[in-house]
Amino acid sequence: MPAASASAAAAPGVARIATTYREAVRAAIREALARDPRTFIMGEDVGRYGGCYAVTKGLLDEFGPERIRDTPLSESGFVGAGIGAALGGMRPIVEVMTVNFSMLCLDQILNTAATLRHMSGGQFSVPVVIRMATGAGRQLAAQHSHSLENWYAHIPGIRVLAPATLEDARGMLATALADPDPVVIFENVMLYNMAGEIAADAGAVDIDRASVRRAGRDLSLVTYGGSLWKTLAAADELAREGIEAEVIDLRTLRPLDDATIMASVRRTRRAVVIDEGWRTGSLAGEISARIVEQCFWSLDAPIGRVCTAEVPIPYPKHLEDAALPQVPAIVAAARAALGR
């Protein structure tokens, strides 16, 4: 489990508390529910079970079954109902247990949530927040290990977030709920147990900017979500070889913050993108294409991609590990970008 070492340095005088990614998300949900009577959460097993990943544990007792709403196994139905409730003046948080089940409600997200404002000529906005767990690494095999962030990042009309740090886990939800348009939040399953400290008064964070999690001059490593921590570990390893990598956490996958990426690449002149999606058609491809469009004349080397192998994720640990982006592959790609 990664330690949350990239969290913002403690501001002097601000008390800090120990937390985990899971607790940070829960605190954000609890705060949202307490603040705004229009907010409620619905999804499979968010209530009595306490959430598949225990994120919503305890909330049913605190807020009751109207606002912590267990749904039947009906992804299209309850996600569509969340969209409708948003249209009707609520501020729903819909939990789709994992991205693996979200194809079942993708029509509602693409053809209703994302298009409704446009189709109605701007009459209606859809302020729904949809949370999903994402990612592989728990040996859950081919149907339960998807990283389909790029599918969602392809959709005009929605915003896509990937909190990778405790601060973002704690802070992105509030900002997402304040957004008048649909927001999809991807929580990487490998991060839920990540422990660390955050400011006791941590709250809403911006969702417009990518963040430089580590400064460096030699190359830019661009990533998001669960891969951030592997990338930071790779950067540490590279530092031991005297290579100073800059690590950019995209944070928001749609719309992408080109400015932060390009400013970095223009300085470092080399880039590697790390993405847990399958390589072909990955978000990494999009980032690479954008860098070429905007920084071609500054590039000293081809842009590398470290992605998931193009295979349904196998169950055995050694094969799953081999399929996913890992620190050695990131280090190797960085070296290659530097011609070493």
Partner: protein
């Protein structure tokens, strides 16, 4: 009709004339749309409601202004009957920015905030979860509103129908499900798409009370809708109304109608909801030839005015292409 509360609508002369006028407005509006399609003023898909007017007009009688409506791509009738103004509706058909959806939606995506008209959905079954959500929002905010959700019998085969019926029933939400059973989904007859062709049996299996009504009889539809809406407002949860109707025209403008006979169509045309109400009205002395003539003249004027409005409308500038993809943020 199955519910006990069924109350015959009060068939005063003004009410009968109002029902007739609403149906006729839809008919004449759409006839003109069909012409405009031939003239290539209207493009894309155009699904006419002609023949089914009694359903939308009858159901809308039961709704209050605060209620919500969710419809399909065959929604001009619902829009007009709900009170969406004809001028912006016709401008929408043209794609002009004076259209009710600023021209962005066209025939299949009519929206109108003023009348709580939530589309205009071209994904079969896609509106049902939305209606459930709107009703949930009303319930959670303690508003006594009803959401009327229209869909075709073809939609009943979709998984979203199943999920939405169950959710609405489970949570006892104020949804009026209105199934417009016109016997065909494009070219697919009900018996080709459903193992159980009695649509009401489906509603029952979610414990949603249901009624079946002659969808060519606007008075019957109104009565059934009023009963259902009364039950919903009384807190009895969702209600289901199957309206047996028929579309007189092709599914859309690209349909050779190979799947049904001319005779069948002609038989149903004899049950035209407008002709029926008009004939009955005359027979009981509530409607006179002069009424019809006056109505036709007024509607012709209204339709023509809507065409003029649409013609005079403007195209949204290209510089606005990316408008309304997301909601503009207030400058901080």
């Amino acid at each position: 009709m199955s519910t006990a509360r069924e109350a015959k609508p009060h068939l005063t002369r003004p009410h009968v004339l109002a029902l007739l006028r609403e149906m006729l407005r839809i008919r004449r509006f759409e006839e003109r749309c069909a012409e405009l399609y031939q003239q290539e003023k209207i493009r894309g898909f155009l699904h006419l409601y002609i023949g089914e007017e009694a359903v939308a007009v009858g159901v809308m009688q039961a709704l209050l202004p605060e209620d919500a409506v969710v419809a399909t791509y065959r929604e001009h009738g619902q829009a007009l009957a709900r009170g969406v103004a004809m001028n912006p509706l016709m401008a929408e058909m043209y794609g002009k920015q004076e259209g009710c959806s600023r021209g962005r939606g066209g025939s299949m995506h009519v929206f109108d905030a003023a009348t709580r008209f939530y589309g205009g959905n071209a994904i079969v079954g896609g509106g049902l979860p939305l209606a459930v959500g709107l009703a949930l929002a009303d319930r959670m905010q303690n508003r006594a509103n009803v959401t009327a959700c229209f869909f075709g019998e073809g939609a009943a085969a979709e998984g979203e129908f199943h999920e939405s019926m169950n959710l609405a029933a489970l949570w006892r939400l104020p949804v009026l499900f209105v199934c417009e059973n016109n016997l065909y989904a494009m070219g697919t007859a009900l018996a080709i798409s459903e193992s159980e062709t009695d649509i009401r049996a489906k509603a029952q299996c979610y414990r949603v009370p249901s009624a079946v009504v002659d969808g060519m009889d606007v008075v019957a539809v109104e009565a059934a809708a009023r009963a259902a809406v009364a039950a919903i407002r009384a807190g009895e949860g969702p209600q289901f109304l199957e309206c047996r109707t028929y579309r007189f025209r092709a599914h859309s403008m690209f349909d050779a109608q190979l799947y049904r006979s001319k005779e069948e169509v002609e038989r149903w045309k004899e049950r035209c909801p407008i002709a029926q109400l008009s004939a009955w009205g005359r027979s009981v002395g509530l409607v006179h030839d002069a009424d019809i003539a006056a109505m036709e003249a007024e509607i012709a004027t209204e339709v023509q005015a809507s065409v003029d409005f649409a013609e005079a409308g403007s195209w949204e500038p290209l510089s606005d292409l990316a408008r309304d993809v997301t909601t503009p943020r207030e400058a901080a």
